[in-house]
């Protein structure tokens, strides 16, 4: 028994040569699966960047294969690196393919975004009715019909979508007139208070008939852009709304309240005044209720309803 063998085993020293020898000792033990898991883990980490140690690992494998009588053919020293590059290139190829597809997607996506933005601008900015509408009637309209604008505008927008579906079937018809017809149908649906989709199905035949009739006129073939369609549809929807009793269109067709169109008495403002009449979901129901407190509480109404004032804080 040689005691020197035991003393020099796995004792790292400050000398770099001794440290390398210590690592090679650990490598020899790891090849024989005689190294602890923690030490083997650290040694594998070292093998990742220690070319000398990994070369030693490779040569000792060859030595063992030769001693066991196995057939070996020595590959170039950079073969493992070539394999690693091949694996990395394989991953890089997929990334490159993905990058090659990305501009195409961006191109189509950019076009779609451009069309959507143009349609949006045409929908909310390029409305000819808003320019032609008299400015003096806007506050009056806002006071007269405080609740109805938003549903009418929503119906008009839905009508644009429905009209675009119908345009696909009617190649000869002008899209603006289709949108106008659909917007007119939307106003009719709004007045009836029916479901939008059900109304589209019910009025489809009539709308198509109107569309064909209007499409025959040459003046309606002017616009072809989607934004023009939307703007015309909004304008026509406003006109149709005027027929149903709302005299001023521009403020009605807007899907959200505009600050300039809202007066102090409009339903979108919060005010604690005497003439505060809105919001009011159902005025008759609140007046007949004797149990629930009414909101907002108007002093005049509180006086007319017995017991209501007692529930006020």
């Amino acid at each position: 028994m040689n005691t020197v063998d035991d003393i020099e085993i796995l004792q790292p020293g400050p000398d770099p040569d001794k440290l390398e020898r210590f690592h090679r000792q650990q490598l020899s033990a790891m090849l024989d699966a005689e190294l602890s898991h923690d030490q083997a883990r650290f040694l594998r980490r070292r093998l990742e960047h220690d070319a000398e140690l990994s070369g030693c690992f490779e040569r000792w494998q060859v030595c063992g294969d030769v001693l066991r009588g196995r057939h070996v053919s020595l590959l170039p020293p950079d073969f493992a690196e070539r394999v690693a590059r091949g694996i990395a290139t394989d991953g890089t190829v997929s990334v490159v393919i993905a990058d090659g597809r990305r501009p195409r997607l961006l191109r189509w996506g950019g076009g779609a975004a451009l069309v959507a933005s143009v349609a949006l601008v045409a929908l909310f900015v390029g409305r000819p009715g808003a320019v032609d509408a008299p400015a003096t009637t806007t506050p009056t309209l806002a006071n007269a019909a405080p609740v109805t604008p938003a549903p009418v505008a929503i119906d008009a927008i839905d009508a644009i979508a429905d009209a675009s579906m119908q345009v696909a079937d009617l190649q000869e018809s002008a899209p603006a007139t289709v949108a106008a017809a659909a917007a007119r149908g939307a106003t009719e649906r709004a007045s009836r208070g029916q479901s939008q989709r059900a109304a589209v199905r019910a009025g489809q035949g009539r709308q198509q008939a109107e569309t064909r009739a209007i499409a025959s006129s040459p003046a309606t073939r002017a616009g072809e852009g989607a934004g023009a369609h939307a703007g015309m549809a909004i304008a026509m929807a406003g006109a149709a709304a005027a027929e149903t009793g709302f005299s001023d269109v521009p403020a009605v067709a807007r899907p959200w309240p505009r600050a300039s169109s809202l007066s102090a008495n409009s339903s979108f403002s919060v005010r604690h005044g005497e003439r505060f009449a809105a919001p009011s979901w159902d005025a008759r129901e609140t007046r007949t209720s004797t149990v629930l407190p009414r909101f907002p509480v108007d002093p005049a109404d509180a006086a007319s309803v017995p017991g209501a004032s007692q529930m006020l804080p």
Binding site: Q25, E34, R45, R59, W60, I87
Partner: protein, 208 residues
């Protein structure tokens, strides 16, 4: 003999490396490549004569193995699984180049022994055959030149596949002594083997 050499401990090392590769550790696969590349090259050389094509097919074999590593469940040993991939890759390479692959299936062990009678073709060039003989002779001479305790320890470990504990019992010494003797034996063999491998690779690089 091959079964003895593929001992439980060596299989455990492969299993550990395979688990790490399946967990996304590419460096562990690099160790598997370094461990088996020369054996795989020799195996592919049984099917393909051109040394350049052997290298390409060997590289493709390892890349395929890396891609399919997630499908390896450990039902067989890793090298057995790698052996199948190498054989299939070599056959596919021959078919792709309008060459008929051999119909005889090569056993994993028979394909790797020097004295195997089932040799599909003597594809090695005289230069490569000479290099192989020099490699064998260098290792054998280095082992014969070892002191008796080192030669016995490395032989019990590499040839017979005994564990350190079994070798310690056989030689009547502590396990630490066995570990040191095996390490010193490898160092002594490596001192003779390294110049040869570096020289052969340099010659191969020049002639390639």
């Amino acid at each position: 003999m091959a079964e003895q050499s593929d001992s439980r401990e060596r299989t455990e090392l492969d299993e550990e490396l395979v688990k790490r590769v399946q967990g996304g550790d590419v460096a562990a696969f690099d160790l598997l490549v370094r461990k088996y590349q020369h054996r795989i090259a020799a195996l592919i050389g049984r099917y393909i004569s051109d040394w350049g094509e052997v290298q390409d097919v060997a590289q493709e074999t390892f890349i395929r193995a890396y891609r399919a590593m997630a499908n390896f469940r450990g039902d067989s040993q890793f090298y057995t699984w790698l052996h199948r991939i190498a054989v299939n890759t070599a056959k596919n390479h021959l078919v792709a180049h309008n060459r008929r692959p051999p119909t005889d299936a090569i056993d994993v062990e028979d394909a790797e022994q020097f004295d195997s009678s089932i040799r599909l073709r003597d594809s090695d060039t005289p230069e490569r055959e000479l290099m192989r003989q020099q490699l064998e002779q260098t290792v054998m001479r280095a082992v014969e030149a070892l002191p008796e305790e080192l030669r016995l320890a490395i032989s019990l470990r590499e040839v017979d596949g005994l564990s350190y504990e079994e070798i310690a019992e056989r030689m009547g010494c502590p396990i630490g002594t066995v570990r040191s003797r095996i390490f010193r034996a490898r160092e002594a063999i490596d001192r003779e083997l390294r110049p040869l491998m570096d020289n052969e690779r340099q010659v191969e690089r020049v002639t390639r």
